[in-house]
Assembly symmetry: C2
C-alpha cells in the first residue's frame, strides 16, 4: 500500500461542548489509519486562506491530552463564520485553497460544523471533482441547535440539552424556595432561532421530584401573547411559582419576533441570520405590567453551548465517533459527504455513524415536528422526551485542577 | 439527664447551593444529640407565623436522603425575606412566636441565613432573655455574597465562586474560539450589590491554560467609565478577545449605579436593597457604540447561586459543619450567637467552627479590602486569590438519575 499523505481538519460556526471531541476522533483515527501528518486549520477556512494552520502533533502529546481535548469546550482550533462564494463568483479563492492543500500534501479535508459548513464541503468537493483534484472532502456535523437534516440528531445538542435540563431544575428549585405568599413568574430564554429543540429540552426538568416548567414555547408555533397572558394568569390562581421557557426566536402570527416588540437592536451575521436577544426580558416586563406579579428573566446565553462541565457522555462519545467515521469514509474513497448519526435502537439506546451526500443536507433546517408539541403549542409531548432523553445520559468527569475543570488549549 | 424536647430550624434570604447542607447538619446533629423531634419551619419565620412547619422525620428517611439534601440547591424548607419588627413596635408578634414555640415544645431555634437573618436571632434571643423564655436561638451563616463580618467566609460563597470560576473559563474559551480578525468584548455580570467577592472570583479562571478575565471591577471602587473605555480600547490593540467582569453593583464616583445609566427599572425589597440588573448589558452597548467592536454580555443571574451541580466539597462540608455546630452550641447553653468559620490554617487549608455574639454581627457588611485590589482598581491581587482558592476545592458528585442531578424535595 502506498504511503499516505496528510489530512487537515477545521472547525466552523458556533461553539459546542463537544466539537473538540470530534476533533479528537479525527486525530486519533487519522493516526491509527496511517496518515502522515494531521494539520488543524486555525479559525476554519478563513484562517486557512491566511495560511494559518498547525501540526496537531505539536499540540496533542498523549492519550491524556486526547481525553482533555474531549472535555474542552468551544473550538480548540478556533472557529469562523465564513461563507465561501460560489465557484463562478470567485474562482481565485478556490485556486488558492487547492494550492495550499497541494503544498501541504493534503489528501483529506475534514470540516466540523453546521448547515453553513456543509455548504463549504459541498462547494470544495464539487470543485475538486470538476477540476480533477485528488482531495476528499468530508463534513462532520456539529450544532447545539440540532437543526441539521438527515442525521437523527447533531453532536453538541445532547450536552446543551443536559445543561439546560439540569439548570432548569436548579432554577425551579430556586424559585420554589423563594415563593411563599407573593407569586413570581420566571421566564427562561433558550437559544434557537427557528428550531425549538433546545427550548423543548427544558421539559427534561420534569422528573419524579420536579414538576418541570409550566409552559414551553418554541418558534415552530406562532406565539399568541394574549393567550400566553391568560395561561399564566390562570396558573397563578393555582400556584405561586410559574416557570416559562421560551425560545429566543418565538414569533407572532404576523412574523415579528417577540424580542422585536422590545425595540431591541438587531444584528445580522454573515449568513443573514438575525441575532436575537431580550425575549425573556421583554415577556417578564410584560407580565409584571399586566399582572402586577414579581417576574424575573434568565438567559442561558453563552453558557448553554460551552458548559462542558455538564456534557453528556453519549454526546461526547458520538462526537468522537463521527469524527473518526469521517476519516474512515475519506480513507475509503468518499467525498462530498457528511457523516450522520443513525439511531439504531431506542431501548437500549444505540447509534451508529452513517454517510450522506452533502448536496441533500446543506441549508435544510430541521425543526421540531408539530405533533411533538401539544395541541395548544405550549409544551412538548412524550415523543419529544423519548427522542431526547437518551442523548443526555452519562457524564465525563471533568479533570479538576485546583478546583476547576482543566482544558486543552492551543499553544502557539 | 432529662429527656430533651424539640428543635426547629428555618431558612431565610437568598438561595445558595449549600444552604441545605447546613440543614442536613442541623438535622443529623440534633438526632445524634438526642433531641426528640426536629421541625422545619416552612418559608422561615414568615411561614412559622402562619404555623407552617413540618416534622423533618417525615422528609428524611435515610443517610442517602441526607446526602441528597446536601446536593440540593435553594431552600428545601422554603425561604422568606421577612424582617421582624422591633420588639416595642409589635410585641404581639413576639408573643405569637413564643406561644407556637411553647406549643411545639421547642428548646432550640436555629435560623440559617444572612445579615438580615441574624437580626432575627438577635431580636428573638433578646426577647427570650428579657421575658424569661427558655428557648435558645442560634444563627447559621449563609450567603453567596460573603459579606458577613467576623466569619472568615460564608457557606455558599465557595460554591458560587467555583461555578463562577468554571463558567468564566468556559466563556473565555467560547470567546477565543470565535474571535479571529474581528474583535469582541465580552462583559460578564456577577451578583454583589456592595461587596465584590463573587465578581473577584472570576479571577480564578486565570490558570496555567487560561489567561482569565482582562479586567475586573468591584463595587468597592468607584467606576470611572472613561478610564474603562480607554483600558478596553488599549487592550483591543493587543488582542481580539477581551473579557471584562463587573459586579451588578458598580457605581460611579457620584454614587449612581452604572445600571441606572441605562434607565432600567429599580426594585426595592423589604430590606431596602435595590435590585439591580443590566450593568453588563449597558456596558456592552456602550463599548459597541464607542469602539465599534462586537460586544456581548452574559449575566450569571440565578444560576450562580443555585448551581449545586458545581458545588465545592469544602463548602458543602463546612455548611454541614456550621449547622451541626449550632445545635451543639445551643445544646451546651449558648443563645443569641452565630456560628462562624475560623480559618485555622492556609496550607494545608483547615477550618473550624467558632461562635460569636450576634449583636456584633448583624447588619455589618464585609467588603473586599482595598488592598486586595490592584492600584488601578481593575483586578484582584494574589492575597484575594490565596484567600478564595481553598474554598472552591473538591466536588460532591451529583446523584445522577436519568442524566440529571437528583434533588431532595419537600413532600407536603
Amino acid at each position: 500500500m502506498a504511503k499516505k499523505g496528510n489530512i487537515i481538519v477545521g472547525q466552523s460556526g458556533g461553539p459546542t461542548s463537544v466539537i473538540n471531541s470530534s476533533l479528537a476522533g479525527v486525530y486519533k483515527t487519522a493516526k491509527e489509519r496511517g496518515f502522515h501528518k494531521v494539520y488543524g486549520m486555525l479559525h476554519g477556512i478563513q484562517g486557512f486562506l491566511d495560511e494559518q494552520y498547525v501540526d496537531l502533533s505539536t499540540q496533542i502529546h498523549s492519550d491524556m491530552d486526547i481525553e482533555l481535548l474531549k472535555r474542552t469546550p468551544s473550538a480548540f482550533l478556533g472557529s469562523c463564520r465564513y461563507k465561501l462564494p460560489d465557484i463562478h463568483e470567485n474562482p481565485e479563492i478556490y485556486e488558492k485553497i487547492f494550492s495550499i492543500l497541494d503544498k501541504l500534501n493534503i489528501e483529506v479535508f475534514i470540516y466540523i460544523g453546521g448547515n453553513d459548513s456543509m455548504d463549504t464541503i459541498k462547494k470544495l468537493s464539487d470543485y475538486a471533482i470538476v477540476k480533477g483534484h485528488r482531495q476528499k472532502f468530508l463534513g462532520v456535523p456539529k450544532t447545539i441547535d440540532n437543526d441539521l437534516a438527515l442525521t437523527d440528531h447533531t453532536p453538541g445538542f445532547g450536552s446543551a440539552a443536559k445543561y439546560i435540563g439540569a439548570s432548569t431544575k436548579e432554577i425551579i428549585r430556586d424559585a420554589q424556595g423563594l415563593t411563599y405568599d407573593k407569586a413570581m413568574v420566571t421566564v427562561i430564554e433558550v437559544m434557537g432561532r427557528n428550531a425549538g429543540w433546545l427550548t423543548g429540552a427544558t421539559a427534561l426538568a420534569k422528573t419524579e421530584e420536579c414538576e418541570g416548567p409550566d409552559l414551553i414555547y418554541l418558534p415552530e408555533v406562532a406565539f399568541d401573547i394574549e393567550k400566553f397572558l391568560k395561561k399564566v394568569s390562570d396558573l397563578l390562581k393555582k400556584k405561586v411559582s410559574v416557570v416559562v421557557a421560551v425560545s429566543e426566536g418565538i414569533k407572532l402570527d404576523d412574523g415579528r419576533y417577540v424580542c422585536e416588540l422590545s425595540g431591541g437592536a438587531n444584528y445580522v451575521d454573515a449568513f443573514g441570520h438575525k441575532q436575537l436577544q431580550g425575549t425573556a426580558s421583554y415577556l417578564a416586563g410584560f407580565l409584571k405590567h399586566e399582572l402586577g406579579c414579581k417576574t424575573r428573566s434568565v438567559e442561558f446565553s453563552t453558557l448553554q453551548r460551552s458548559a462542558s462541565h455538564m456534557a453528556s457522555r453519549v454526546d461526547i462519545n458520538e462526537a468522537f465517533m463521527v469524527g473518526g467515521a469521517a476519516v474512515k469514509a475519506a480513507d475509503e474513497g468518499d467525498t462530498g459527504k457528511m457523516v450522520v448519526i443513525d439511531r439504531v435502537s431506542d431501548d437500549p439506546y444505540m447509534s451508529a455513524a452513517g454517510i450522506y451526500d452533502v448536496h441533500k443536507i446543506a441549508n435544510n433546517e430541521k425543526t421540531v415536528p408539530r405533533n411533538w408539541l401539544n395541541k395548544e403549542g405550549n409544551f412538548v409531548t412524550d415523543d419529544f422526551i423519548n427522542y431526547i432523553e437518551p442523548l443526555i445520559q452519562g457524564d465525563y468527569q471533568p479533570f479538576m485542577v485546583n478546583g476547576l475543570p482543566q482544558h486543552l488549549v492551543l499553544k502557539k
